[in-house]
Symmetry: D2
Subunit: 370 residues, 4 copies
């Protein structure tokens, strides 16, 4: 057995700790002067460190993220890919918007992107459209807490139940808004559709029309929202799991007393046509679930595949679930082009979505104004 | 300013570090002998530490989890709640099965639970039924890697694409099985349905019938699976987002050349009836997404609410998304009874689902054999 | 058994779906006009939705986060709490900086905060100081990939090993910088300390002095960094687990050939004194691990507790680990005051740390300039 | 532009949806009969599906995990690698045990592994040793809740504070046990060490001796525990961040009134010697943080590297932090051999650690009894 001193002497003599010998004549980072091995896997691309001060613009902080590593570098890359996709006229953008993004306050960002012409098709949940419509006709979500200081989560949620308030993490919705939403559907949507079986995209289009009308007629302060903007700019809204929402429950109740129903397959052709005929395509995916998969799946029935893909999610890939799956996995299915630009940012989407959109609009609109 | 010595002397004299004074005459954990404050929030319930040895049974290791804390204690509680729900004849069990559970190897567990009569309704994804059917007719998924030793994830997925192999995390599916699945649907399912518009549950029932028939006729080694077992035991399968799967794409292709289509709302009444008429109800939720929400939502249109709820998931609540939302949040919506037994286990469901089922069957079947 | 029609008629008549009856005479959100139950748990505080456009400032986007929910609302609150802590002269701020924050590009943010006087004590890892020192003397980290397009993760990491490059997620460090760092320690730090046993904070202070000197003497482009700024502004740097780093390995090698060693307990008194004598205290915790716990633990040996606490982390509380533990849990230990302002942001800290600092500096410096 | 019918006809004719053409003459999974492309990336290794029934043994369920995919397959592989490492006499096993594993009930598993001779060195936290010692001398942790049904988390933690109870997620510790622990240290540990400066491993060895003595003398029901077992079997316990714990605070208090102190670097030589002289080495890492890194780092100062590595963690790699970093990343640093067997299981370690140990002991002891 070697003694410790033997080893230590060796280590001190060679100046190395389990590392290839290297001489370092200067204190600078000049690779030529090192006798290091040939380096092919390594790229020389120094990290510059983020510099932060007061008075910064979003464009500046995004640029600083690009100087940093880990998630910050990915966020900067996401801004760059999104800006390229938004900025190229010929790129068709499919936005997947999961879960609770409207109650979480992301509604105006989506409706503004639609109005600016950056979104060509939206895939989302019935929940997002339910909450979007409630605000379009004058209802409000409220800031709340996910843990009340004076009650346990369970006791607190029992109280909210008694008070007729639904909780979505730290957002509250008084239940009377569901009643108002029900009346809105009965008066302004179902009557117009009548005794017909329609596709889901036709139904969401009617909803958008009705939201826009009521919002204008009742002079509601709040923006008419996502469905209204999509109606006015001819952007289809696809909701594969529409049954799984209050909007879907209302549609079901209506179908029980009339000839109205929804054809689950009726809007798949126009969506697939959009993908098929696009010169260039981008998937912009906020959160996971059905909206993510349905946006990606659209490429399964075309000879093409996505040129750009950005996902903003908290779901890690390690579970094997679709929500956190890497975009490279989608490549094995032929959903992304081999040379597609793609990036995933693993962080809370309510923080990253506004940031990526702000950064991309900065880039697109400063290019446009040149 | 106090000197350090003053403070130190105080601390040493009182024998305390920022804690209420307490005398401790014995070395034992005898609360009566302490002059500690009145304790109402604190429960006296000592942790016993898990003891592990070779030759243990699952029942024994589950019991040891109950002696431990954190997630282990939750897992033990999940076994207990599941056993109570499975063991009570009058309890109607709704199973939500998300994502990639069939390709991940959970198929036989679900079909066996159905055959044993423990599941009364299944809510799942088109993906799970697609993969279930592929195996029913003789196809196979394969063990693979999510990171190949010799290729980068991107390069590797490009190769898989060239080789016609789809990857689901560390599971592979050769694409010819999709072709065989397509032929199966054409020959054994769509012909029988004919030119009709049917509900999604009717469609999955036909699929189950066809899977059972082909499996028997072709003498396939593999079990006929989930849809077949559900067909044979009259358990409805609900797939709210059926479009979002290869099964849904095939249904769409069929709808383009025939009068066949799917009514999105057509099976909501029988599901809601099942919940409405149940004496007692349990939600058993594996993974998040649409299956989780749809199982919980079913209680929105009944005067009742779940008596039991177990969820096995990796999604944390902090994102505000539905997938990781606590079951207490569901209580604010009236989806769980105020006094419901509910527990969430935050860990990989491919590990916890087999363990919870094994533990619950141990408890139920040893009770039954008494 | 009720027929479905009975129930449906009831539901349609009352206009409700398992919800308390409510009348809704107007389309506006006017709570007085509803016959809803008394609401105590519910707060009326409408969500305004984030508005995003090009040309925004960081202050504006932070303000928009405050209009949104979920993590965005928490981020806005974190900016507010941080600004209050930074802005109050009498508040002593303890910064916990975990893991790989320096290689991830967060180095300049920390050194600038120290120079501005916003940090009174730093608790961090040996790794962060090692990487900080490497840059101080002219070394560079490099942008890399965590998954190389042409190699598998394992094969790629084998190649990096052959090329003498260490990988930290998507950041590379050529190993010759460790040799240069070793020479720096030998020439500029250990000689000055001599044959003495010193505290860890004394050792990091000597390191800071040496980094500042070499950085100036060699006219290095890069900022002298965290340890240098801390030295120049008399901010102590505590590294409880210093052994667990290349810096610690070098210290150990030195201790084998000289009388030099590190006293593990030698700097605990001044840190505890700082907490003890502070009029008001704030814990600003970036990442988890030892730096988080050590910052919080400091309050265990004082009669006081933190007045402010902000944590930025990706670790969820569900594992029961310290890194993701809520700040309320710390309250049970007496580490936070009962009425402390505290907020946790669960998202990638390389994204949120620059954002929170930028937002807080905006608030502090605009207040100051009034 | 192609019409939809053109495409549909093409798709129906070729029987493919964006996939390479393939003929499928039989319903069986016979690769030879397919005209599929050459497949090199793809391995033919069918997934068998986990079969679960009542009355199973742990060995059987672990074997079923091996038939499944995603995390279940990794767990099965972790059992296999652990069994090989434990079973080879010549393999030196370094166990890294993070965070709250003792209060979480994992204490007896670790002490039994030490007694069976499966662990050669332990790296852990001061917290684990504090809680281990409290139980050794008769104290108890208690099952609790992380969210109390009747109080909010914050209010509840305030109450626990008033009642003198510390909370670790869902585990409680009444604070008088810290006082008893303090007396134990004063009487049974510090007196014996006297006025000396000792290494941390010497200090933990004295603690183990004292725990064993008091446990025997006082005839405590509970097992003497980890430190006692390590003392009795000459297994060193390394605690790089010992200051960061109640044990460390007590050591500091003692150092203020005596010549006692801890040499931070004093036990690094014997640990490095152990690694240097081992014929074969294994890293078994439970949780992340300092214990994980320190176990891996030990290989930086030897010419060798780990032959086996297993990690059980909930931390995802996406944050870039060390805790969730893949074991392949460690390979770039030379900490793992190129051909090492390594596996990571991403799930709650309080569930997976008992399971992996039980499975590995099954394999080792059934081999031994043959």
């Amino acid at each position: 057995m070697d003694t410790f001193e033997d080893r230590l002497n060796d280590a001190m003599r060679s100046g190395e700790l389990n590392r290839p010998p290297s001489k370092a004549p200067t204190m600078t980072d000049n690779d030529e002067t090192h006798s290091s091995p040939e380096r092919e896997a390594f790229d020389h691309d120094p990290i510059g460190h983020a510099k932060i001060s007061s008075g910064m613009s979003v464009a500046e902080i995004v640029s600083e993220y690009g100087n940093a590593g880990i998630g910050a570098a990915n966020l900067s890359e996401a801004v760059d890919v999104t800006a390229e996709a938004f900025g190229r006229e010929e790129t068709t953008v499919f936005l997947g918007l999961a879960g609770a993004m409207v109650p979480a306050g992301m509604r105006a960002i989506v409706s503004d992107l639609i109005r600016k012409g950056h979104i060509d098709a939206l895939v989302t949940t019935g929940a997002n459209l339910t909450h979007d419509s409630i605000e379009a006709i004058g209802g409000k979500h409220h800031h709340g807490v996910h843990e009340h200081p004076d009650y346990g989560e369970r006791e607190f949620d029992e109280r909210l139940r008694d008070e007729g308030v639904d909780r979505i993490y730290n957002v509250y919705l008084p239940q009377e808004h569901f009643t108002l939403f029900e009346e809105h559907l009965r008066t302004d949507v179902f009557e117009q559709i009548g005794e017909n079986v329609v596709s889901i995209a036709s139904f969401t289009r009617e909803l958008g029309r009705a939201n826009a009308e009521v919002n204008r007629r009742e002079d509601i302060d709040e923006d008419p929202g996502i469905a209204a903007a999509a109606y006015e700019h001819d952007v289809p809204i696809h909701v594969p799991a529409i049954q799984d929402s209050v909007l879907g429950l209302q549609a079901w109740l209506r179908s029980q007393v009339s000839g109205f129903s929804l054809d689950a397959l009726g809007d798949m052709s126009p969506l697939n046509d959009l993908a098929y005929n696009a010169e260039s395509t981008a998937a912009f995916v906020v959160g996971g679930g059905v909206p993510k998969n349905y946006v990606l799946q659209t490429m399964l029935v075309t000879p093409g595949a996505y040129d750009y893909a950005v996902q903003l999610t908290m779901d890690p890939p390690q579970t094997g679930g679709l929500s956190g799956a890497t975009l490279d996995e989608a490549r094995s299915w032929g959903k992304l082009k081999k040379d597609a630009r793609n990036v995933s940012v693993y962080a809370d989407a309510t923080i990253t979505f506004p940031l990526v959109v702000a950064g991309a609009l900065d880039a697109v609109e400063s290019d446009a104004s040149r």
